[in-house]
């Protein structure tokens, strides 16, 4: 296929979710996985070296164009909306779900020492977490886990892309005053 790189680029431009290599293959009806991989790698490098306004991000198992973080202020200016922020309690709850999944509400509340019904609902509403199923315990409590959307929002390739708790602890020790 001629101009494979440009075709892939146009697909990435139009797609509303990160595109996986398999998805691109099925759209282009192309057997050659390697060729698509090469096109994606070249594109990534080109956007990087040419310092364009957006870059090709590897996220949630796929590829997606995203604007450079350093231009965020201007884009917010254009969009005229306040950045959506998660409250600190919501962020803590999300971190617990991310690191301890599959996790029970009672585990989260035990860790945080407060009721988490509200924050869980907020996170469900935002599509950042989901109900994975039920645990075989009295009352069959629901267990929670993170979603694909979570990976997309926090620009993670997959869950292993998160630093481990051990790594975080080491980082913390190198900057003892950095905690608030």
């Amino acid at each position: 296929m001629d101009n494979l790189k440009a075709i892939v680029e146009s697909l990435l431009f139009v797609a509303d979710t990160p595109l996986t290599i398999d998805k691109i293959r099925s759209i282009l009806k192309l057997k050659d996985r390697k060729a698509i991989e090469n096109a994606l790698t070249t594109l990534t490098e080109e956007y990087e070296t040419q310092k364009r306004g957006f870059f090709l991000s590897k996220v949630s198992g796929g590829y997606q164009f995203r604007t450079r973080p350093e231009f965020a202020e201007w884009i917010r200016q254009m969009k005229r909306h306040k950045p959506v922020r998660l409250s600190r309690p919501a962020m803590e709850t999300l971190a617990i779900v991310a690191y301890k999944q599959p996790v029970l509400r009672s585990d989260i509340e035990h860790l945080r020492g407060v009721d988490c019904g509200g924050t869980l609902r907020t996170l469900l509403e935002r599509g950042l977490i989901r109900v994975l199923g039920r645990r075989d315990l009295p009352g069959r409590p629901m267990v929670y886990g993170t979603t694909k959307r979570f990976l997309e929002v926090f620009e993670l390739k997959d869950l292993t892309d998160l630093p481990t708790l051990k790594e975080l602890q080491d980082m913390q020790q190198s900057w003892p005053n950095d905690s608030t």
Partner: protein
């Protein structure tokens, strides 16, 4: 000196309400620059109680969780004061571990939350292309993928419950949902095979609750006339048919 420290606590806390006891403990640990593995329990307990009293003085309701932690701290403090025998002390764990472990774990996850918050966040730091709704609407394709989350379903259902009196849904417990789940499974079998014997529906390995759930499912299916039950005149075998 002591006085100054206490005053400090009040001033810092004024603009800040603590979400829970762990939150408050973390604040005290950080304010006093304490090693959490060697907590001066008397100092922390006193400051903790001072904060609670301060909240009460302001007529702010102090949640029960805070009082439970206060009791825990007081208990640890008293155990620290108890003069134990030499060998007992070697055996026994440091009473402070009761709060050190959860505190360490909480601090770790607070770090994780902070790290997460520091990542480039979609729609805050990075943006993707806006989707113009004018795009050709998707036709009924062969694959027909669906993009819905369980939350959207639940949310839709909650709106209905709010509009209607909840009595329409009073029996919505896990048991009744289990029965519905079983109904769905039986319907799957009947769709595939057309009929099934009564015995076949009861797995020999099934526990008591599973047997009850299956029986209730059959009753409900008969009631809503989704299935017919027939018994063979001579063999006595009971068979269930699609309705």
């Amino acid at each position: 000196m002591e006085q100054a420290q206490n005053m400090g606590a009040y001033h810092v806390d004024l603009g800040h309400t603590f979400e829970g006891p762990m939150d408050l403990l973390v604040h005290l640990v950080k304010k006093n620059e304490i090693d959490i593995y060697d907590i001066p329990i008397a100092l922390i307990t006193r400051q903790y109680l001072e904060y609670l009293n301060f909240m009460k003085a302001l007529n702010i309701d102090v949640a029960g969780d805070f009082l439970v932690m206060a009791a825990t701290l007081a208990h640890i403090k008293s155990r620290m004061l108890l003069p134990g025998k030499q060998e007992e002390q070697e055996e026994a764990e440091d009473p402070r571990m009761e709060i050190v472990r959860p505190l360490a774990e909480y601090l770790q996850l607070k770090d994780a939350a902070q790290d997460l918050a520091g990542r480039p966040q979609l729609d805050r730091d990075v943006f993707v292309r806006a989707q113009s709704d004018g795009d050709a609407s998707p036709r009924e394709g062969e694959q027909d993928l669906m993009q819905v989350s369980l939350f959207e379903l639940i949310d839709a259902f909650q709106k209905i419950i709010k509009q209607k009196s909840p009595k329409d849904f009073l029996n919505l417990t896990l048991d009744t949902i289990s029965v519905k789940s079983r109904i769905s499974q039986i319907a799957d079998i009947l769709e595939k095979r057309g009929s099934i014997t009564f015995e076949e529906l009861f797995d020999k390995e099934a526990g008591k609750s599973e047997i009850i759930v299956t029986f209730l499912a059959i009753l409900e299916m008969v009631k809503s006339q989704v299935i017919r039950i027939m018994q063979h005149a001579s063999s006595g075998i009971i068979r269930i048919f699609n309705g």
